[in-house]
Symmetry: D2
Subunit: 372 residues, 4 copies
């Protein structure tokens, strides 16, 4: 595969923490990619990142999407900007990796699903990076291989050491629990049918009225139960743990036990990953590499528009569950035939290496040359 | 302390699996005790155990309670016999260790609480052995010492490899979940206010209509949330795990990781305790030793009648929650002043050794000599 | 088994830390035992312990051994007193549990082996408590069951947080490494043929000239290699770890991982046992219970005189290895026919409970009644 | 950094398992690299790999080194070819990543050290991939940060499930133990002064005369002791474990505990990495990325010629130690001033991502343009 002449030229929209992290990765660790345009509401931030990665700045994200030196788009802008930006990518017909959420409301997300389906080819990948984490991949394989028997229960733990003040209960659902929504769908390979939120005593570190921690309970279409403890002001570190309980065994990931130290305080143990970069850094890079590889072939290699839409729908039900204290059903529109594969292609060899994605039936590769 | 002249002479009522286990312990591993009478519905079983431990058989449990060669009683008979037997012990005024449940209905349990309170001294200890387990003791201490800050959530896992056919959903609540009821009360030091049962897909190993596994959700009086996965046909082993999540940290017990083996199948790991004897054998023995030590002083050293009553009340609500699918409140009668301390005395020294229980204020020691 | 009339009446010789610990256990946690006499060089210490356990003081340990109210003897006096005291027990023909070392030189130890053999019955048990530890028992069983195939290598780690100044290199061999000497013999079921000591850089906490840590290398008669890191001023805690590497797998004990806590310093882990009481408390109690049970039947149930002698011989070679830097052969005298079983009887049921020892062929039970 | 015009054009010499693995990585996962030439003794193997990665075949490795379309060389040919190939790279003055061993004898290795030093710039990097492993990096940092105090002992375990017949004792030293040689030098930052080999009972899977397992003992110049259990026919899996014991604590890596599964055989645990690709795949990729990044700047970023030479010298002493059973001193020639940094540049950010290497003082960057 000759690398130089077909490097994917990428516009990065939004270079806050996540976008800047991706821009740096695309410029130093990812093969076959080149950041050519950076766009951000804050001009100085855009200039700083663009300078670092050798790109130009375009203050207009829609113009960036349509620029001649752009083959694909990475959207890491605030969620409310996603709808317009993703639609622009579809309009131009170029691949886009959109950080979650796909959009901020169910209708616009479903509109995107339908619009992409009408195009007859997959262009949208959504940034659920856990699907690229070696432990989640191993857990998924264990289930798929039938080694646990029918999976009956999933228990998730998701803790952050602390968050900004604005992380209220609804924000916790949309920004944090959304990851377990995708994890549950990914592992169980079915849709979530309802959401219930059990709020107990809150940590004194939480603002008044914020239920932190909460216990979120999902029921899937087939009746399986998924629980998620979301606790974003734990004061400790970044903990993401998932246990699947099946008919013939159970499996647990996220123990995060590597270097074990014994110290003069008489304790044994190690350090917990302080944040998502340390915990999921390798998964983010693999996600990017596989997206770049797929985009150069004109397809995607991971969760698609449908996955993004389903997550939006479940989180919207979750927010209503927080407000009402009731079990809230999740209602999804019909799934178009060509709407997004929901799993990255299988790993080949070691877990840190990209596989070769099989094209989904009926999905035509984009013509990268023509797009220039 | 001269041992021989004041050995506690014990009647063991019911020598099924649990009673026989206790009778053997009292005859071989527990200091200061002697099984003098064995009673069981099945005469041959009674004869077998009595022969083994050097006791006589009395087919009438009430007669055994009143016998001259009995200073204290251990009740391990079927739950429905407990009410009459415990009452007989109260009537005679001798110490009794009653296996859970205290009784099989709330009214009789509360009647016992009131009757003991009227006596003005504690005679009843209830067999919640987990309070004597070294890990639970350490977890309780961690909470009491404030090292986790205010405890907000408790997650429990309780799995058995398999159970007899008659373990239906209600039985699972009364016989298995009852342990987490006591654990939650013990660790959090407050009453449970409501019970909810979330039933999902059942294992195909469960009889039709039995929700196995279930997720039971307790809310305490102060609003804390306690979850319990009860799964009694897991096919794996006996797993009891408890995690407490607080404002300043979390703690987990029950990993059950000791001998680690690496084998030619390329796996690392160990064996999970197959049953409660392996997992809680030391706790049972410590429970017995401390009960015997306390009984010889005329008191108890562990969970009392009130704890037994509260557990019955919560389980009754749990059974209703299974039937109705609703969140069911737990209603407790007023607690009499002298009704049962709910914690064993603090450990002194190593975890496997009994401490010296402080007498509860106002509780007069029984006159063991006079009782003979 | 009627308990009261045949309680074993025990003289405890030496009530320093270890002896006092045993005296307390025999008086509160061990069934069928009674401490009747306490003897110690320090009169006040003897009086204190005697008062606590309801025994009388005898300042003369030899007189205590021969006293009418003594059926058996527990020796926890300084090592140099052991030779005379053990011989006195043999002279009187009563069971003795002797803390390591059996004696402080090879000749006297072998003399005791021969003297006991001449008696034709086993009276001496040596206090290698690790043989009663649940993990060591499980490891031994794994080997015996052939699950690791032929054991080829054993790696031991033995660390103390700190020790008194007088723990020089020789003392470390005699007092600490002696445990791994017995562990190696116990696990591999063969004698040690040579000892080599590899001394590297010492911790700055060690006195000048003391090799702390050291690596001790044993070779067994069949050629297996056993390594022992002995490090008694580690500054951390009490760590005892043993790994056996076989032809078909390996096994590791001593990870000491129970309660796992996550704290606001971002660390996960637990506390390491600070000392031998916490780590081996249950093993000590089981050792005592089984010795008492066996002594009441007139036999022993654990490592015997031969094991004590072999350990002395290996340690003496080890001390020479420290001095010379050479590999030093271990030379043992011929083993008399009746010299000491080297394993406790197999566990029956849970790991913390004593089994019923089978009497060794040809060993006659002492007449406890006559001895009074 | 514009990627396309300066992609490093690499000749891969030797495409056995290791070389083919690297060629694939350079063509799919490493940024800024392009395999342009493949050379191998076996023409068909060369053709296969070349076809896969879009390179041409050159049957003459020396011609490949001198080819116009080659900027840098990766040597994965058999060890005996390394001397000539590395020298050819030095002759042309282009960067080379040489898999261990640097050469197969001390003299030729030292000759290379001297020749590179005479050039006045570092061109040679040696493939000790463990230095790029996240756990080793964390362990090194712990030591460097002083958190363990002065490191006193290092214990290494290195096990393979099985190996080809030709892995005799000498081969085990040169091919397997060589990794711990570098690990010890890397972690302790000093040279190894002597090697001793302790051979015990061999597994029955080993050919006659092969000491498998062996215990290799290194002493460093300052007197620290390093032990290495090398066991290449363990029958289990690929296990690499390292423990460093210091004055103020100890640290252990290689527990390899990630996904934990509980199965119907009543066991808990996980799978051990079956081979080096699974265990060190990420480290190999990071090694390559950082070498490529450094080579494009005209330098190296990892262990250099001196490290390769020192490893050869220690292994040669180790082979003599196997033959003689003696402790064999390691004799190194004087280290030239400019001979190779021995640590990769510090990580910046997450552990799986390359940092930006600082150029060593006095090392001039090669002129990649001119080299074409």
């Amino acid at each position: 595969m000759p690398a130089t002449s077909t490097d994917l030229r990428i516009a990065v929209l939004g270079v806050g923490m996540m976008g800047a992290f991706h821009a740096d990765a695309l410029s130093s660790r990812i093969r076959g990619a080149q950041v050519t345009v950076v766009s951000d509401f804050f001009a100085d931030k855009a200039a700083e990142v663009a300078g670092r990665v050798g790109a130009r700045v375009d203050s207009d994200p829609i113009a960036a999407i349509h620029a001649d030196d752009v083959d694909a788009v990475l959207i890491a802008s605030p969620g409310k900007a996603h709808d317009e930006q993703v639609n622009a990518c579809l309009d131009r017909g170029i691949p886009v990796l959109c950080e979650k959420p796909l959009t901020t409301d169910v209708e616009s997300a479903y509109g995107i699903v339908q619009k992409e389906a009408a195009l007859g080819r997959q262009l949208i990948q959504v940034g659920f990076m856990r699907r690229y984490d070696a432990e989640y991949v191993a857990l998924k394989k264990l289930i798929t291989d039938g080694e646990l028997g029918n999976p009956l229960l999933v228990h998730c733990i998701h803790r952050n050491p602390d968050v900004p003040e604005h992380f209220n209960s609804e924000f916790m659902i949309r920004d944090s629990v959304v990851h377990e929504v995708d994890v549950a769908r990914f592992l169980l390979d079915e849709e979530i049918a309802s959401v219930e939120v059990i709020a107990g005593v809150a940590t004194s570190a939480a603002p008044a009225g914020t239920h932190d921690p909460m216990l979120v309970v999902f029921r899937t279409v087939s009746g399986r139960v998924v629980t998620d403890e979301i606790y974003v002001r734990s004061g400790v570190a970044y903990e993401v743990r998932t246990e699947v309980v099946g008919e013939r065994g159970s499996a647990l990931i996220g123990l995060d036990q590597n270097l074990v130290v014994k110290r003069t305080d008489g304790r044994w143990g190690g350090s917990i990953a302080p944040g998502f970069v340390e915990r999921f850094g390798a998964a983010y890079d693999l996600e990017l590499q596989r997206w770049v590889d797929a985009a150069r072939r004109g397809t995607v290699d991971g969760p698609g528009a449908w996955d993004g839409y389903a997550a939006v729908a479940v989180c919207e039900a979750g927010v209503e569950a927080v407000r009402t204290g009731q079990k809230v059903p999740v209602v999804l529109g019909p799934r178009p035939d060509a709407a997004g594969s929901d799993a990255p292609s299988a790993d080949m060899g070691t877990s840190s290496q990209p596989g070769i994605a099989e094209s989904s039936a009926g999905i035509t590769a984009p013509d990268l040359e023509a797009a220039r």
